[in-house]
Symmetry: C2
Subunit: 117 residues, 2 copies
DNA sequence: CACCGATATCGTCAAGTATCAATACGGTAT
DNA sequence: ATACCGTATTGATACTTGACGATATCGGTG
């Protein structure tokens, strides 16, 4: 009976969960897909693919930046975005871990509290 | 009575974003990892790995069920959970799509990426 | 039957999030 | 400098979510 009256908030302590969170939105996923399909995309091109206003796009781009999914660079008055190769690689790595039956050997050795044979 | 919406999250129109949303939580990701590490896990084992109460675990398991990540089966008074192979495969497929510079060569016909004019 | 342990659901609260209008900022061209 | 364009930030608002206690439900047991 822990009294957690102050902050029961867990927040996103897991960096991988944070990565998932970055992609767990239709608009952001569309942006990521558009980025994967091209070699750098201008921010001005995202407003076309998603039915949201410009500030919303900018907000999602910020989330993608903060979650490590993309990097950006200013060119003249435009801003270009690229998919972050590291994030994508990390993502694929997690995808590989989440294959049924294919996982850390240690997990199988974990104590089973109740295991009716 | 509260209108019980059939589909969770009206904003989640993209099924893939829904899949990501299912894993975008530290507790749920821990559950998925534990599931990937074993050949079926009893629900009673999840309370040990995550510092949350039983109703919370049950809630997250429900989310994972609704997002297609897991399937469950009752055995006596216990409930066993397995990672859904289809969801894991779909996830790996999307992860492959999100590779920089790879315009979905191995991707299935599902992705709809709108090319900027 | 009554009882008990394991899960799921309900009710509710606090915190996080998506969205847009208005506005500020950064560069370019006139 | 001034006007203009593209992008980011701010502020407000409605909605979504994660958490837990209380309680219901499901199965097995005495």
């Amino acid at each position: 009976m822990v009294v957690n009256t102050i902050r029961p908030m867990k927040r996103m302590t897991d960096p991988d969960a944070l990565l998932f969170h970055g992609a767990a939105d239709p608009t952001r996923l569309a942006i990521l897909r558009q980025l994967a399909g091209g070699d750098g995309v201008c921010a001005c091109d995202f407003t076309a693919c998603c039915a949201v206003a410009q500030p919303t796009i900018s907000h999602h781009l910020k989330v993608l930046r903060e979650t490590g999914w993309v990097r950006s660079e200013r060119r003249a008055s435009f801003v270009w975005y690229w998919l972050n190769a590291e994030a994508a690689a990390r993502f694929r790595s997690i995808a590989g871990e989440l294959t049924p039956g294919v996982a850390a050997p240690l997990a199988r050795a974990l104590p089973v509290v109740q295991a009716p044979a």
